[in-house]
């Protein structure tokens, strides 16, 4: 499965709502699809010890991360009857309120998309080497850890 071409999932900066809208539009010619499910991760302005997160700066071990994304993708296509799957993750600065993760799955039937989307998002959170520096308004920072 690792022989197939591995394309990059990363985009510099936030993922825009226009980009998401356009991705949806592109699927309207695929008339075997009956259900889409979309997950969006958005940067929260968490307040920690009285300081507010203003942005997260994402870095990644890019080669390994793209390989992991590819493996997750292949595993999901094997487990679930999906017509399409798209994953995008931000690198660099993403401000609070902006979108840093966009996962989009489509299938003829709805049950499939619910299961597949949750599987993919949990796999990404657990296995992809992406790192997040939570930057506070006073320019101090802490390192984000997925739960």
């Amino acid at each position: 499965m690792t022989d197939k071409k591995v394309k990059s999932v990363f985009k510099q900066g936030a993922i825009s709502s226009e980009f998401i809208g356009e991705s949806i539009a592109k699927h309207q010619t695929k008339t075997s699809i009956g259900a889409h499910n979309i997950f969006l991760g958005q940067v929260r302005a968490d307040v920690i010890d009285g300081k507010t997160v203003s942005a997260i700066e994402y870095t990644a071990y890019e080669d390994m991360a793209n390989q992991k994304f590819h493996e997750i993708r292949e595993a999901a296509f094997e487990k679930f009857n999906l017509t399409c799957m798209h994953i995008y993750h931000s690198l660099g600065m993403v401000k609070a309120g902006e979108i840093c993760l966009f996962v989009f799955v489509s299938s003829p039937r709805r049950k499939v998309v619910f299961e597949a989307l949750e599987y993919i998002v949990e796999e990404i959170k657990a296995h992809v080497p992406v790192f997040g520096k939570e930057i506070f308004e006073d320019d101090t920072h802490q390192w984000k850890v997925n739960n």
Binding site: I56, Y61, P129, V130, G132, K133, W143, N146
Partner: protein
């Protein structure tokens, strides 16, 4: 053998570099980490996983050369 070592996130903050080349003559990942721990004593207090050539490995894995990366907790999404 020459090993390319990569550091990320809070680990790179500790080592104050993102990549370096270390000449290594031992056998196991555990041996390799001893070298890093003596160079960067603060690493002992940090949680990280080790990847060799992009695959997660354990302390008992043999060092095969190429690339070793120290990966702090993941925070994707």
């Amino acid at each position: 053998m020459k090993i390319t070592v990569k550091y990320f996130g809070m680990i790179a903050e500790t080592t104050q570099c993102e990549e370096e080349i270390i000449d290594f003559s031992g056998n196991f990942i555990s041996d390799f980490l001893k070298i890093l721990h003596s160079k960067y004593p603060e690493l002992k207090n940090k949680g990280f996983q080790v990847a060799q050539n992009q695959e997660l490995v354990s302390l008992e894995t043999g060092v095969t050369g190429g690339e070793i990366a120290l990966l702090p907790p993941f925070a994707g999404g």
